[in-house]
């Protein structure tokens, strides 16, 4: 059962990342990887909210496996984030590479903290 929940979440999260990235990347003309940035920040917000809900006893372990380990885990990515950063640096856009690292970490952490706070306001 636990495995099926993780698999079901991953099966939705990964294509959601692919489609979101495609949609975002077709709407701007810069070298900045806004697509990956977007899915990572949204995933951090959802997982933060879920973690806050779980801490308040409002999210079952099954929901955490489905939405947390499965969906958010597959929606967000570290491998593409690093690879795109490397591509920017190698392509001469070192400034954008540094901005990508700093902005992703700051926005991802910020989203995680906001998510937890929202969950605490809702369920505690």
């Amino acid at each position: 059962m636990n495995w099926l929940l993780v698999i079901a979440g991953g099966m939705v999260g990964a294509p959601l990342r692919y489609l979101t990235d495609r949609a975002v990347q077709s709407r701007h003309a810069t070298v900045f990887p806004w697509g990956t940035f977007t899915v990572n920040v949204i995933g951090c917000l959802i997982l933060g909210t879920l973690a806050g809900a779980a801490a308040a006893g409002a999210a079952s372990s099954h929901l955490q496996l489905l939405l947390g380990t499965g969906l958010c885990g597959a929606l967000t990515t570290y491998s593409t984030f690093s690879y795109e950063t490397l591509r920017l640096a190698e392509g001469g856009a070192r400034f954008y590479a540094a901005v990508n690292v700093i902005a992703s970490v700051v926005a991802g952490l910020g989203a995680a903290f906001v998510g937890v706070s929202v969950a605490e306001a809702l369920w505690v």
Partner: protein, 157 residues
């Protein structure tokens, strides 16, 4: 997953040309399907790793750390091989790069684990984890790309 679309990885040191992006959704069905299957496999592998090597509360999240670092190293090797030498089927890259590796590695668990460490009174462990993952993941993808290019260049001689 921009990096995994073919126009973006068009040779060493080149960035994708924005004008060349596909805007059509035509023919995306099989791609979305293989990304879904790959994502499920990657997420299951990450879940399996977390069961074999569980992380205690307030401890440095070594399992997620290694999952992310290994995923970064593998994507470096894979994308160099698939763009430089391996004329693979068009679904191989979305399946393995976007699906499996994207589903295996995670940014959300990384961020929320740091939040938890800080919230539970272990800001130093949180900060160490934040920095260590960044440095190790970026070093892994860089070393993997450079080493794979070297091996390929050596084999061509």
């Amino acid at each position: 997953m921009t990096a995994l679309r073919s126009e973006k990885v068009d040779g060493p040191g080149k960035l994708r040309v924005p004008a060349g992006r596909p805007s059509s959704w035509h023919g995306q069905g099989p791609v979305v399907a293989v990304v879904a299957v790959g994502g499920a496999l990657g997420a299951a592998a990450r879940y399996g790793a977390s069961l074999i090597w569980p992380t205690q509360t307030a401890a440095f999240p070594w399992t997620t750390f290694w999952v992310n670092v290994i995923g970064c190293a593998v994507i470096g090797v894979f994308l160099v091989v698939i763009s430089d030498v391996w004329a693979a089927h068009r679904l191989v890259r979305p399946f393995f790069g976007t699906g499996v590796l994207g589903g295996f590695t995670t940014f959300s668990t990384y961020a929320v684990d740091i939040q938890k460490l800080v919230d539970e009174g272990h800001p130093r462990t949180g900060l160490a984890y934040l920095a260590a993952t960044l440095v190790a993941a970026l070093a892994a993808v860089w070393l993997a790309v450079v080493a794979t290019r070297k091996v390929l260049a050596w084999r061509r001689r």
